[in-house]
């Protein structure tokens, strides 16, 4: 039999039908829902008199538009009436259609991509979709996970399948031992810098190599999370002992005999050694420098020892977008990134708001103070569970002593749908995944970086090299 990639295996396992029109009907094992991309899908079901195909395949949680303060008030604590209505609508829709829901005041609430794995809802070898592009996060579990649009949300609810086309295979190999201060976020930013935000378009990207194998599941999720910033709907990492240990014992994970049986299957979730990829990229990580973005696209990135580009040194077709980006970001061509003063710090999002991220930040800021020139430094845990665990470890005290605000879980300033956002002209050191114009607030300027680098920037009041702190 021909050698298969992990993606090929997952695809074959979930293929229901090949359709005459060249697309495929792919079975969907798990479907995550949140308040923002589902109301129109539920309306569609209702209008057509349809019911969800397999109710327990779904799990809903509000996360995008929720406030990160006054959580004890539940939905009533959402000051923005339009957002409140949307969160209420999620509850009503879930009730009407019988969809399991984690409510706002539930201790398990959090960003949908943090909650899924945490609850063992995301399991190896599955297909998982959600009306959110960062669904790629779950690929860290050797799970075929993809973001979908609202029409597709409705389609998955009604049929438990997705009409889709097979992607090509791409492999990215990270080899070597990253130095101090170089994190999974830096690896993925460096990749996007190299291949560009459209470099992975049309591919399912598998990350491999010893630098990936040595990562925890949390680090692997950070990598897979930003696959979409490289243009790829799905990122994947092979199953191994690390996956096994993370998954076992989670609330929704199989136990006993079922677990034995599952392990047997899960261990096959690797690419065959002689499997062929349409495209491969190699990265040596030993000499990698902590990364920071200078522009308004994640591909506009460089090491912290780097500079904003000089336009004449760029390829002609890149000059106009670089000029526009520098203008928006308030940077001059050739300016060193180190030393650029920041106004706000955001440590959070589905990219970097899990325990490992928070522990690394706490280690760095313990006993220090957020620089007085920084107006606001937010730490928003990825989930209620992360928040509780951090508090058990006393991290909240460390953060608050240092001058950070300690909030409740949600997307928060990653996209600024709630009231955590940048004002026009404000510059933010952010651990999120998108630095588009206006992403964190109209006119706001976002520099993407790792939690360590954002923490270092908070202490210094400017972009700085965490390795020198």
């Amino acid at each position: 039999m021909a050698a298969l990639t992990l993606y090929d295996k997952l695809w074959q396992r979930h293929l229901v039908d090949e359709l005459s029109d060249g697309s495929a009907l792919l079975y969907i094992d798990r479907h995550l829902l949140h308040e923002v991309t589902t109301p129109q899908a539920f309306s569609g079901l209702r209008a057509a008199g349809r019911k969800p195909w397999r109710i327990p395949a779904n799990l809903a949680v509000p996360d995008h538009a929720v406030p990160t303060r006054k959580r004890e008030l539940g939905i009533a604590g959402i000051a923005d009436k339009v957002a409140r209505k949307q969160v209420e609508m999620l509850s009503l829709n879930c009730e009407e259609f019988g969809i399991p829901l984690i409510e706002l005041e539930d201790a398990r609430q959090g960003i949908v991509h943090v909650v899924g794995p945490e609850q063992g809802y995301t399991l190896p070898g599955m297909t998982l979709v959600c009306g959110d592009s960062h669904t790629s996060t779950h690929g860290a579990f050797a799970t075929l996970a993809m973001g979908i649009g609202t029409s597709e949300v409705e389609h998955v609810l009604a049929t438990q399948t997705l009409r889709t086309q097979k992607q090509k295979n791409m492999r990215v190999v990270f080899e070597g031992l990253p130095g101090f201060g170089v994190t999974p976020k830096d690896l993925i930013l460096a990749l996007i810098g190299r291949i560009g935000t459209a470099g992975g378009t049309g591919y399912a990207v598998e990350y491999s190599g010893d630098a990936i194998r040595n990562l925890s599941m949390e680090g692997r999720m950070t990598i897979c999370n930003m696959s979409i910033e490289a243009g790829a709907r799905a990122g994947l990492i092979a199953y191994d002992r690390v996956t096994e240990q993370f998954v076992e014992g989670r609330p929704h994970a199989p136990v006993g005999e079922r677990l034995e049986q599952a392990r047997g299957y899960w261990r096959t979730l690797v690419s065959d050694t002689d499997a062929e990829f349409h495209r491969e990229e190699y990265f040596q990580v030993d000499s990698l420098v902590p990364q920071v973005t200078w522009g308004t696209s994640p591909e506009m990135v460089t090491g912290i020892d780097g500079k904003a580009p000089v336009l004449s040194e760029l390829a002609p077709e890149q000059r106009e977008s670089a000029r526009r980006a520098l203008d928006y970001m308030g940077l001059s061509p050739g300016q060193s990134l180190k030393g650029v003063a920041i106004d706000k710090v955001f440590i959070g999002s589905c990219t970097n708001a899990r325990m490992e991220d928070l522990r690394s930040v706490a280690n760095l800021v313990k006993g220090h103070k957020v620089h007085r020139s920084v107006q606001q430094a937010l730490i928003v845990p990825g989930s209620g569970q992360v928040r509780l665990q951090a508090e058990r470890e006393g991290l909240d005290v460390i953060f608050q002593d240092a001058g950070f605000e300690w909030r409740s879980a949600g997307c928060s300033m990653c996209l600024g749908m709630n009231d955590d956002r940048l004002n026009s002209g404000e510059r933010c050191a952010s651990t999120s995944n998108r630095n588009f114009e206006g992403r964190q607030g109209k006119g706001g300027r976002t520099h993407l970086m790792s939690p360590l680098m954002a923490a270092a920037a908070a202490l210094a009041g400017e972009l700085t090299d965490v390795r020198e702190i």
Binding site: L25, T37, P56, V82, D132, I148, Q160, I228, G231, M417
Partner: protein
């Protein structure tokens, strides 16, 4: 879904690459519960000089006269012309709803964000991939006085410009769907038996998935 067979309209030249869905429709409008009413907020951050939100009436806001969507004749454009990686970023289908509600029926670009590309087809908007030199030429034509009118014919997969006829390629399945405008869910449900048979087989192999 609305069928798409052929469309004649004016080109709205949007000379930029990597246009993300956050730019197409900013986050504050994602709170809306319908699929319509987004057209006034298309490219909101750039289109108006003052900030907007769902409950702020656009009639009282100040459009930026330097922004192309506020300029005649482009404000009547129904064929958006852009460069590489149009619609990258967030999966928000609201971006397509906003384009459609504004009146855009076709988007021409040299490449698209994957999820956006799908979302277009699911809403009767046709995204067409053209090579970069063709895109360059169209930009040149579109910047002339009075703009550029095109006819996009999905049945023939042709675009008629005043000078020539361009061919384009669409995956056959997607083309059929758009041409027929049939309800995709209804079509998939004709495969219900296959889906059930598949589930029965999987349940035997991986029962924990169905627990």
């Amino acid at each position: 879904m609305e069928a798409f067979k052929t469309h004649t309209g004016l080109v709205l030249p949007f000379d930029r690459s990597n246009v993300d869905t956050d730019a197409i429709l900013p986050k504050q409008y994602l709170k809306m519960l319908e699929k319509t009413g987004f057209g006034d907020f298309l490219f909101d951050d750039e289109r108006y000089l003052d900030p907007g939100d769902v409950e702020i009436p656009v009639s009282g806001r100040r459009p930026d006269p330097a922004f192309i969507l506020n300029q005649a004749p482009y404000n009547r454009g129904s064929i958006l012309l852009a460069r590489a990686n149009f619609g990258c970023g967030s999966s928000r289908e609201h971006a397509v709803w906003a384009l459609k509600d504004f009146g855009i029926r076709v988007v021409l670009a040299s490449s698209f964000g994957d999820i956006f590309f799908n979302n277009c087809f699911n809403n009767g908007v046709l995204p067409v991939i053209l090579d970069e030199s063709t895109i360059d030429e169209l930009f040149e034509l579109a910047s002339g006085m009075g703009g550029l009118e095109l006819t996009v014919d999905l049945e023939q997969c042709h675009i008629h410009t005043p000078r020539t006829t361009l061919r384009f390629v669409v995956e056959p399945g997607r083309r059929e769907n758009l041409l027929s405008g049939l309800d995709e869910i209804g079509r998939t449900l004709t495969h219900s038996e296959s889906i059930r048979a598949y589930e029965a087989k999987r349940r035997g192999l991986e029962p924990w998935v169905f627990d």
